[in-house]
Amino acid sequence: MSLQLSAFLTLLVLSLAVPIILFLLLRASLTDLLRHTLKVQAGITFYLRSFLLILFLSALSAAIGTSFYLKPDSRFMEYVWKGAEGVSSTLEKTLWFVTVYLVLITILVATLKIKDDK
């Protein structure tokens, strides 16, 4: 296997691991929060699925967009640096979209739950 392909596959595996870990960590508490906020069961499923999609799409879009085409005589560490650049881009994009999702969920809770509590 060429160095380019192994570097790309490593980045792909890492970028799949990040959303899986994040989803497993947050799923239970997010479900709980949504159950206390929404009366419609389908709404809970919709927001959970969209969270999963947001995590995977943001991570994969950054990872796939990273190009490993370097000069033919490139050294091992140059591929590592390129991989690190890809991981950085993946984490940054995931962070931004999770932030957007959290803002959305905060608005959801603020607008729907407060009235129910009254």
């Binding site: 069961q41 709404g43 919709f46 927001y47 947001i54 729907l112």
Partner: protein, 135 residues
């Protein structure tokens, strides 16, 4: 396989992949979205929203695909574009990345729509409760 053949095959495969990804995301969100639309809004609005959802995911996917241009980085003519295989692969990666990004933005947009539907339905419920209390 020549670079030109690779370009043709990868372009149409990429277009099919983007449509496929849009469809998969639609199928993944269809049922819960339908449930929210049915439970929380009027019949006409619910039907309209359910019909809009597939297009609201498929169009962004295709838009993401076509938004990537092969011309650039000093390559303006067709011959210059097909000269280098690694450039073509790079562009394919860029296309898939762009498709995923556009679908992502579309999912966030539909999240906002669901939020508005839920808010609208809650307002409707509160108003009907107030009317019942007045009666």
């Amino acid at each position: 396989m020549t670079n030109e053949r690779y370009l043709i095959a990868s372009y149409f495969a990429g277009a099919a992949l983007s449509a496929g990804l849009g469809t998969i995301v639609y199928l993944f969100l269809r049922r819960p979205f339908g449930g929210v639309a049915d439970a929380a809004s009027g019949k006409r609005l619910s039907s309209m929203l359910k019909r809009l959802l597939p297009w609201g995911l498929l169009f962004p996917a295709l838009l993401g695909f076509v938004s990537v241009s092969y011309q650039g980085c000093g390559r303006t003519t067709y011959e210059e574009i097909v000269q280098n295989r690694s450039y073509l692969v790079e562009k394919n990666q860029e296309q898939i990345s762009s498709v995923l990004r556009y679908i992502l933005v579309a999912v966030v947009f539909w999240d906002v729509i669901v939020l508005l539907i839920l808010k609208y339905s809650q307002n409707g419920r509160n108003q009907s409760q107030l009317r019942q209390a007045d009666d």
